[in-house]
Amino acid sequence: MGDCHYLYGNVATEKRIKFMKQLLEFVGIEGERLRRKWVSSAEAPEFVEEITDFVNTLKALGPSPLKREQKPDQPSAKVAVA
């Protein structure tokens, strides 16, 4: 903490993640589906370990409880350009 390229950006992230977890739980999505960890670019093994662990957690949780009811919108291929 406090070691952020954008000064106190990560302090803000910490708060935001806490809030997001509560929001997710409020709409019926498990808070474990959102995870935050500080890993520097020099800590490859920690990063791999964290991601592997997260993937395993997500696999164990299975599909989202909201999945059955909703289908994602397809993005359109043609867009406006200036």
């Binding site: 954008y6 803000a12 043609k78 350009v81």
Partner: protein, 562 residues
């Protein structure tokens, strides 16, 4: 906000270039398959595999494809954007494509190199990454780099050896300098010094030359007894509010600043019995030596006095050299004086200082190591020392004890740090942007630092840092105008309700509140593009160019499609 954008519908024509990077990528995943896959993605009209996309042939191919296939987006899947994005962006630009319509994806460092043992999955992942990049590219918008004028003047805060050297360097480069010194006289710490190590030149000789040179320059404006009270503006266009010697407030426009406020030698009453008479600091010894009369016959110097302990954990790094320098000078003035230097570790870095240490030993100056767990005790007549090697206690009678105390940060440094919005370390020294890559820069653009306010420095070091900072200023002010990346935040004035949530979050003070329109707005020069405001804004009014919700969501959707 720029003028209203003319919206036209245009067919999306994306060109994708997959780089083999020799065998760096192609050796671990199937680039041919990735290229074939890329060609099937929506909007892609051209896909090509290159042996080296960054080679002249590769670049030429991109430029020809832009013209021949009327590409309006280019995606390169290769190595790190850190090293190669500017190159590819520039080649797009010279082929007539807005460089912000370029997207790069790293399938080397983040794919082929990490999955060397798993060709099949590495290939699948590369496809996923390319699909994401193509999806994002579809939503990219053309941008213009931000240009702003530059004021070719520089503010130098601090008129010690570092500040004077910076002022001298800047003035010689033809830039106008505004030098602000808090004291009545220029010179800083050097004013009190006797000799400058390792050459042994008179400090006053060095100083007078420097002061004379700087003060006689027509493009240097000097304020003494003055202080910087506040700073407005941003890189290229700062305004310093200075309180001058008469207490008047003066405004000076400058493009950049050099901070060189120095540090103060610690003088702590009672430290090892410090009384300023028989127990003094190295700094208090200097004027005695300057007078050229020295009668003490037995001198004990104690290194790391008040440093490298619980209160101040850092090493001041120059006091070993100062002790040796002064000890050798005492020997010159009074050859039969016995000198002992009690030390923990001798920090005599560099060949010249290492040589000095050997010469000092040759002159009969004695060095005794002590253990920080059993520091020397200074009594009325003698210093007691526990020799760690022999484990026995010995006493040295003394006439004079000299403490090598550290340089400590100035008390007003924290005030200045808040005023400039630049960080300090736990010891109150200013923190550079990067210890190795940007040692004389602050993270804030256009503000540089030099000398002992950064970390204790010798005269030579302070001087070279001052000149170095001047050179760093040159990299900004010798351009016609300031060009910064367009990847900054913008706030939609139509939807902003002026809640000021973003204003609180912005680490760079780049957002201000417009009282009249009751909305928040971004200063594009101050903005660093961190996106804190965009993540905070409850109405998506604040967004980061190139990272708008649509652009990010398209990427996320694309990865889910796999």
């Amino acid at each position: 906000m720029a003028g209203k954008k003319k919206k036209e519908f245009e067919e999306l024509r994306i060109g994708v270039f997959i780089c083999d990077c020799g065998s760096n990528i192609a050796g671990h995943l199937d680039c041919k398959a990735v290229t074939e896959y890329a060609a099937t993605l929506p909007g892609v009209v051209f896909a090509k595999e290159n042996l080296y996309t960054c080679s002249e042939a590769g670049i030429l191919e991109i430029q020809e494809a832009i013209k021949k296939h009327k590409l309006n987006r280019v995606v390169v899947a290769s190595c790190s954007p850190r090293t190669h994005q500017p190159l590819f962006q520039n080649s797009c630009k010279s082929a007539g494509l807005n460089p912000y319509l370029f997207e790069m994806v790293n399938i080397r460092d983040q794919c082929s190199w990490v999955h060397m043992q798993d060709r099949e999955n590495a290939t699948r992942k590369a496809m996923d990454l390319v699909r994401m990049a193509v999806a994002r590219a579809a939503f990219l918008e053309p941008q213009q780099d931000i240009e702003s004028p530059l004021t070719p003047r520089v503010g130098v805060i601090g008129g010690g050896s570092a500040g004077l050297s910076a002022a001298e360097g800047l003035s010689r480069m033809g830039l106008e300098v505004v030098l602000v010194e808090k004291n009545k006289e220029l010179g800083g710490l050097l004013r009190n010094l006797h000799k400058v190590a390792p050459e042994g030149v008179d400090a006053s000789e060095r100083l007078e030359g420097l002061i004379q040179d700087v003060s006689s320059r027509p493009n240097v404006k000097i304020f003494t007894g003055a202080e910087l009270k506040s700073l407005d503006g941003y890189v290229g266009n700062y305004v310093m509010n200075i309180r001058d010697g008469e207490g008047q407030t003066v405004k000076e426009s400058v493009g950049c600043l050099v901070i060189a406020i120095g540090a103060i030698p610690l003088v702590q009453k009672g430290l090892f019995g410090h009384d300023g008479k028989r127990v003094i600091t190295q700094m208090e010894l200097e004027p005695i030596l300057k007078k050229g009369k020295f009668d003490a016959k037995r001198v004990v110097m104690i290194q790391c006095a008040g440093a490298r302990g619980d209160e101040r954990s850092y090493c001041s790094r120059i006091c070993c050299m100062i002790a040796v320098k002064n000890a050798m000078f005492i020997k010159k003035l009074s050859p039969d004086t016995e000198i002992r230097i009690l030390y923990r570790d001798m920090q005599m870095y560099g060949t010249e200082k290492e040589k000095m240490l050997w010469e000092a030993r040759g002159e009969g100056i004695r060095f005794e190591v002590y253990d920080p767990a059993h520091p020397p005790e200074v009594g009325d007549k003698a210093v007691r020392l526990r020799q760690p090697l022999l484990g026995r206690e010995i006493e040295f009678a003394y006439d004079l004890v000299v403490l090598s105390t550290p340089l400590v940060a100035r008390e007003d440094a924290s005030e200045l740090s808040q005023l400039l919005r630049v960080p300090m370390d736990q010891n109150g020294f200013f923190l550079e942007a990067h210890a190795k890559l940007r040692p004389l820069d602050f993270a804030a653009d256009g503000i540089f630092l030099a000398g002992s306010c950064r970390y204790p420095a010798t005269y030579d070091e302070a001087r070279s840092q001052g000149l170095g900072a001047a050179a760093r200023v040159g990299t900004i002010l010798f351009k016609d105008k300031l060009v910064t990346s367009a990847i900054v935040a913008e706030i939609n004035p139509e939807t902003c309700v002026g809640c000021m949530g973003c204003l609180q979050m912005c680490p760079y003070g780049a957002i201000s509140y417009d009282q009249e329109r009751k909305i928040c707005q971004v200063n594009e020069i101050l903005c660093k593009g961190c996106g804190c405001c965009a993540a905070t804004c409850p109405s998506e009014s604040a967004s980061l160019r190139g990272f708008k919700p649509q652009q990010l969501m398209s990427q996320i959707r694309a990865v889910m499609e796999g």
